[in-house]
Symmetry: none
Subunit: 142 residues, 2 copies
Amino acid sequence: MSIQRSYHPLIARGAVRSTRQGTAINAVLERSAGFRSAQDLHAQLRQDGEKIGLTTVYRHLQLLAENGLVDVVRGVDGESVYRRCGTESHHHHLVCRRCGRTVEVEEPAVEAWAERVARSAGFHDMEHTVEITGLCGDCPGS
Amino acid sequence: MSIQRSYHPLIARGAVRSTRQGTAINAVLERSAGFRSAQDLHAQLRQDGEKIGLTTVYRHLQLLAENGLVDVVRGVDGESVYRRCGTESHHHHLVCRRCGRTVEVEEPAVEAWAERVARSAGFHDMEHTVEITGLCGDCPGS
DNA sequence: GTAATTGCAAAGGATTTGCTCTGGT
DNA sequence: ACCAGAGCAAATCCTTTGCAATTAC
């Protein structure tokens, strides 16, 4: 027996039609580890040879967000960043302000803290982001 | 003996000159309870009869934020909102995804953790942001 | 065939910048 | 008088919308 599996969850739900662009967006999100901006995703799709408009990327991300399939967070610079929800283990990033080098860090204690402090304020269904920036030792001038 | 007390903390620090506009901005912030956008603050100042430009409001808020005198958070709609800090110590925010209600949280342990984990990766001059979002108990549907 | 989807160009909206004028000290 | 601060207008940047052409079903 075979189970036909559709990649795009919204297609499976019959909410949208299957298009080359929709599939492509879903694919990049699947391959991406952390949060990425719409512009960033669009740039990569283009670089990967996909013929797709920025508008379409925005529209798909919006749709996915409305359906809870991606997380959206407003970055400090005003950009919205998106990430596929769910499976990947949760972690944070340590980014060098000068060279952009990134280190992934994981710390259950922080997760627990965020959960606890939010719950005690009467919140539930928490999500959080932690971003640490600094200057790394390998940079010129460090 | 009398101690001359300047309202505007940055003036007290000798960081800026005292101007009608600067004082006005500081005054509104002092009167305001929650977070307010730059545009909002500007509108009110104008309504209060102050002659002040939007640019100036932005510049003052930016300056205050850099000096840790106001908190800035990005609203869901992309607007930045500002509020005078209660304590001038470093803290984070817990934001309700549905109604936008905000709670200030402070946790030295997180600061220490961020510092430690970054240092052990060879970083220095760290900065960090922590954003926790959730649904608060006061919201319809919670 | 019909309606959803795409994508360009233009619109929007918040914030920043260039540059000259004003006003504190 | 000198230089920081003010503010208009124009520029940026991200995101959304209008609308005609395209494509899925």
